[in-house]
Amino acid sequence: MLALSRWKIILVLGSVIFGILFSLPNVLPNSVLARWPAFLPRQRLNLGLDLQGGSSLLYAVDMDALRKDLLNNSAEDVRTSLGQAQIGFDSLTTTGGVVQLHVTDPSQMQAALTALAKAGARTSTGGRDINVAAAPGQIIRLSLVSQALQADARNAVDQSIEIIRRRIDKLGIREPDIRRQGADRISIEEAGESNPEKLKAIVGKTAKLTFQLVDENVAAQALTTPVPPGDEVLPTENPDEPFLVVKKRVDVSGDMLTNAQSGFDPQTGEPIIEFRLNGVGTRRFAQVTVDNLKHRFAIVLDNQIISAPVINSPIVGGSGEITGNFTADSAHQLAVELDSGALPAQLKVLEEGTVGADLGADAVRAGVTGLAVGGSLIFAFIFLAYGLFGAFAGIALVVNLLMMLGTLSMSQATLTLPGIAGLILTLAVAVDANVLIYERMRDEANAGRNAIAAADTGYRRAMSSIMDANVTTMISALIMFNMGVGPVRGFALTLSIGVVTSVFTAIVVTQILIGWWFRVTRSKILPIA
């Protein structure tokens, strides 16, 4: 194994050059990088939020929109619960935070109150969301309890955080920090100085998808055109038909999607979004399309009609596609948003700014010093333990570090504190590989082999341990990278890069150095025996 084969030397030289070339931009000042020829790499390590800070966005849940949503929902609840109880009513309005209605038959007043109180009690928090009050003249008023609104805001924030995180993960943006702030705010921080436009585009849309039937008996010229109760006017994207009147009733909604992905229409080649519905959604979709053949069905996203095709044949399979004015990019983004779920409420940007490193810039400097001290101690110790061969292991360690930093700079993966922990583990395991090899060499030399044979056998016999240990590490690193999130992923990334580079450097680089040493000195003894 100690033979200095040409491909090995080329491989080692190549990786050293790679490591130096790709690590170099990290230590060069900007002025030098600016004059760098275009073919040379110029990317620097992409440090995470904890190490270098970045930009921050503060969002607030739109409470007005949330209140309006809740009121509309309660109005729908009123319609269904009074309908089920077969109580006649009219003039259902939602104004000024109050839902008001008029019961036609005075004798049904009490029954109506009971039915509505029961519907109002059915809430997410278990308490009463809605106050039901009777007023003279067969009027019933429903108003939101303010604590309920706050609880809903908290829920909305919690759900939004999970949904934003899912969207961000699917679009592959670098690990941002997402956290609740106060009762109804969400703060998002992203590493780096970049303008967080992409982040804003993702968070900005609620992506509430609904399918509603078009009321073809009414035409609307403006949003304010009066329409029958139970209908609403929505804008479309089609200039020939800027407004359509649709039934308020939502037949199928985005929360019934199990999957959405972007694709291309096989006939027209236009970008489309393909979706699949869950069981409930499939049944409802089938029912609606069977009952309303040759009628128009509007696909509504965030209160805007994307398209309103005519139902030509019943759709019973639970899958369908959305066509509209998409580009490939916008179709992909919308598919991700639909797949991650709709935000429970619109979010508004309150503040934009920059933040320093999570850990504090001073603490990061102290940490870097500590790591440098630790690194030097490793070199000193391994040299003390194994002399010249220890220095060879040290050189291998430097090459390993260069290759890791080069790979991290090149791939622009985010290096966070957990990532540094992965790096330290990698270095420890890399040293371990050399220790294993050297201890084997000593065993072989003590067992009576001559120096070169002992060195050679040392490599061969240590191989099984090194491989088993590194394959085990690689398995866990890959699993953690694929399944994990946030810090786990950052750790797993540097670890898996490190497994590859450390096996290479600890074995091949030291082999070449030791082989070369034997060739030059023609030594008959193993210096570490």
């Binding site: 630790g374 040293v431 201890e439 099984s464 866990s476 810090p487």
Partner: protein
């Protein structure tokens, strides 16, 4: 010229340490440590930082560049928990903390603001709000799930490369290490943040490496000495790799030592936890994983070897 490098022999070339003989005592020690960790975790949990449970956040401005070190020191001595200080813009800072035990909800920010104003003249608090943790339940759940799957697959790999009892010994030892490390975090009241997760993962990684290296030597000697009792083969293997264990362990601890000199370093709690885990991981390879194999017995040349009672192996 000297023939051999002089420091090579700081571990004697051949040792005859009776590792297995100490196993019963180690078993008691491990059991006590696991119970102790469990009690500590049960009684006082761990000291979750703002990353996990949220807390208060204040935005500050200072007349000049924000003295982050001073601000951190003020927060630490004021007694609030899990303080975090980060710079914001040129002359600003953001601090995050949890109120000290027994402090009313609204009291902590007022208290901290007063302390900061007293320590740094001209400091202004320009904003304050409560914040939630960045580690959500879903995030944590996914992390744990990933870890369990990874451990499961490592078990399968070791089973495939060695034998089932090796894999189970490794997983049991790993569980031992995880419990002890969390117990260590609980006892020392080190603030558990995102970085603690990294420390725990590193401990698991190092510990697993130790186990595989130890198994590998054991497997090799089992093939070499077919009739020697298992306990003796284990002793022989551990003595053979003792020098390596000490050198590798020392190197790993040295790598961490730089960040442990200064307790104010951002990496102190991370590295302290990792150093503890390296010691525990090395210990558990010898005194948790191997005794499991010893009690269970191993297959040698396709015949089942008789399990060796610990009593019988004592000299």
């Amino acid at each position: 010229m000297r023939k051999y490098w002089p420091f090579i022999h700081f571990v004697p070339r051949q040792t005859h340490f009776n590792f297995v003989g100490l196993a019963p005592y180690a078993a008691v020690l491990s059991l006590l440590a696991v119970i102790g960790s469990g009690v500590s975790i049960g009684l006082q949990q761990v000291n979750f930082g703002v990353d996990f449970v949220g807390g208060d956040q204040m935005q500050l401005t200072t007349p000049g560049p924000a003295p982050l070190g001073v601000i951190r020191h003020v927060l630490t001595v004021s007694g609030v928990q899990a303080p975090q200080v980060q710079g914001a813009g040129a002359t600003g800072a953001v601090v995050q903390f949890r109120g000290a035990a027994g402090m009313a909800v609204d009291q902590a920010p007022v208290f901290v603001a007063a302390k900061l104003r007293a320590a740094i003249p001209g400091l202004k608090v320009i904003g304050q709000s409560s914040i939630g943790g960045v580690v959500s339940g879903e995030l944590l759940g996914k992390g744990v799930e990933a870890l369990l799957v990874a451990m499961g697959l490592m078990l399968v790999y070791i089973w495939f490369r060695f034998q089932l009892q090796f894999g189970l010994g490794a997983i049991l030892a790993l569980a031992h290490d995880i419990v002890l490390t969390i117990g260590f975090l609980s006892l020392t009241r080190i603030e558990v943040s995102m970085t603690s997760i990294a420390a725990l993962l590193t401990v698991i990684g190092y510990s697993m490496n130790e186990k595989v290296i130890s198994f590998d030597r054991l497997r090799e000697n089992l093939r070499k000495y077919k009739t020697t009792p298992l306990a003796e083969v284990i002793n022989l293997s551990e003595n053979e790799r003792l020098s390596r264990t000490i050198i590798t362990g020392t190197t790993a601890l040295l790598a961490l030592s730089g960040s442990m000199i200064n307790p104010a370093s951002a990496l102190f709690s991370l590295t302290a936890t990792m150093a503890f885990g390296i010691l525990v991981g090395t210990y558990s390879s010898i005194y948790v994983a191997l005794p499991v194999i010893l009690l269970w017995g191993v297959k040698r040349d396709d015949e089942d070897a008789k399990p060796i009672r610990l009593q019988a192996s004592r000299p």
